[in-house]
Subunit: 385 residues, 2 copies
Amino acid sequence: MDVPPPACLKSPPNIPHKLLLGPGPSNAAEDVLQAMTSPLLGHLHPEFLKIMDEVKEGIQYVFQTKNKLTFAISGTGHAGMECALVNLLEPGDRLLVVDIGFWANRATDMAERCGATVQRVTEPPGKAVDAATLEKAIESYRPHVVFVVQGESSTGVCQPLEKFGSICHKHGALLVVDTVASLGGAEFYADRLEVDCVYSATQKCLNAPPSLAPISFSERALEKIKKRTKKVQSYYLDAELLGNYWGCFDEPRRYHHTGMISSVYALRAALARLAAEGLDEAVQKHKRNVQLLYIGLDDIGVSPFVQDEKLRLPCLTTVAVPEGIDAKQVCDTLMSQGIEVAGGLGPTVGKLWRIGTFGMNSNEANIKRVVAAMKAALADQKHHI
Amino acid sequence: MDVPPPACLKSPPNIPHKLLLGPGPSNAAEDVLQAMTSPLLGHLHPEFLKIMDEVKEGIQYVFQTKNKLTFAISGTGHAGMECALVNLLEPGDRLLVVDIGFWANRATDMAERCGATVQRVTEPPGKAVDAATLEKAIESYRPHVVFVVQGESSTGVCQPLEKFGSICHKHGALLVVDTVASLGGAEFYADRLEVDCVYSATQKCLNAPPSLAPISFSERALEKIKKRTKKVQSYYLDAELLGNYWGCFDEPRRYHHTGMISSVYALRAALARLAAEGLDEAVQKHKRNVQLLYIGLDDIGVSPFVQDEKLRLPCLTTVAVPEGIDAKQVCDTLMSQGIEVAGGLGPTVGKLWRIGTFGMNSNEANIKRVVAAMKAALADQKHHI
């Protein structure tokens, strides 16, 4: 052997239990983790194809869509974003990015790697873009595709989407919506909103491990894909090939890649949990519980970063860091107690804390615990000033 | 709700236990599955970064490399192939594909999506390309990159790689090796063989669920990546960004994507198993046990498809279908007994069976069971002719 077996693999890993109240991953549900211990099946065995079909139905439910081209990508939320963009953009296409935070940069980076040109319509952190502003930007830029994030996790804004779909379609553009941080925690109706492509991830409100990216394309989006003059630049993320493997078309399934068997089991369990709770009830639960968080924050003298309450994401709350407080030190103090709360991201670094209450983590006990821990950490800092 | 909760998610999934002796996924080890039930950590928590470091060391061990740019892609083996090609090819580059079966098509498809031009050096199914033939093809085509599959799972050939690296380097080409179906089941020494990029998958000899693609790039490969004139077309598979997240360079880690926490736990457990067994011993075990399979096959009157025993993959055996036998019916009969054996793939459909004995599935009991089942299925068919 040129390279000896590593000594570090002789001992078990150190995996402490933490309460994950950052922007994700959230904690995974016990039955979702247990689902992954089921024996593996082959990626084209009929029993596994049936599970894929069931997962597909579950994804249609959480997206509220009847789109036939609905499946889960064998990759995380970022793979979902890349799948949306590589399939819907051809070199030279124009993409309009609704820029209300960090995720606009990611989408821009990916779109430019597709050879698209990108313009943005921007609002400052904590604000959202309104429909009239969007329409003006579309009229001036004439994009092929419009990209918007519903749950902007860097600012805690829940971007309203009413009329976005119809405005895009009036001007011949497709609408892509990122629901990674919002799905299951804020209202979303893909078909009603006329969304052409929506994707999400598994590690937020679904309380599953990060692994798959549920995605769905409208008929209008599929039409554009079919009319492409150039192959999709990624084989792994080619929506038509993936749609075939996921049985979305009336044709025999072909081997595209080896599906992530155990992760699909986990996603099925997570979707079953959400379906049993009910999507409406899940969203209402987040809205009810986040009110408790607002009250708790108010009690300890801090305020939500997003001033307009209607624009706040019910499953991820951003909190303005008071003057003179070291934001990172508060996070470190909480982490030492096994509670994760995160700082800002991109444009909001140092300006805010991010408290995620995703899915099963949205409950009174967690909220009381994190508020009490923050209260103590803040008092401790003030005491030392 | 426009779309009601799916009724199919109300009952538990049907997941029968099967002995997976096809070309993969193989069965997963129980402790590897159990590792996935550990609580989630954040993708940038120090405890998780330590686990990533340990996984990285384990991957360096199984690849037998000291390459610093070594990590696991959050995607399956196909994502590994795509990562290798999108990072090492720029538009207009020439790729030479060693074509000894199905995988040459996949690599060609992906490379063309990168804007590269592809030529092949081909041998018929069951054969391998020798070093002199490769050198002649390189001299005539002058490729920037040479792609070769070590374990050609469509034919059962283990492609010899001696001198491939030095020949490539003599002519200024980089060498990419796919070890998806061979790693842990056939000798492989990345550094000794002068391999510039090697990738694999988790669901074969590692006995983990399909989810991650271990990958490693040499200094020479990294140099080419650094000199690219155009960004890598995939953000998700950008090796330099991934290398940063995996702590491969002396720089602070940045958030690239949300790592597949539970899958990384599983991979760590799988690598720990292999390190405890020892890579040499693992390979020798496959070689010893496959001899039992050859004897068993001979006893029931069928023969390996690959005639030159030195070219046979020790972990995946292809068997020629005797004249007059319905290959698919034999597979169906075995599957009805809970044993998976596969038919051909691509150029070998209908011509052979594929029997995978990957990792822990390489043992005398499994081999006896599959041989006995094939014997009965063949006798049954002959009886009905």
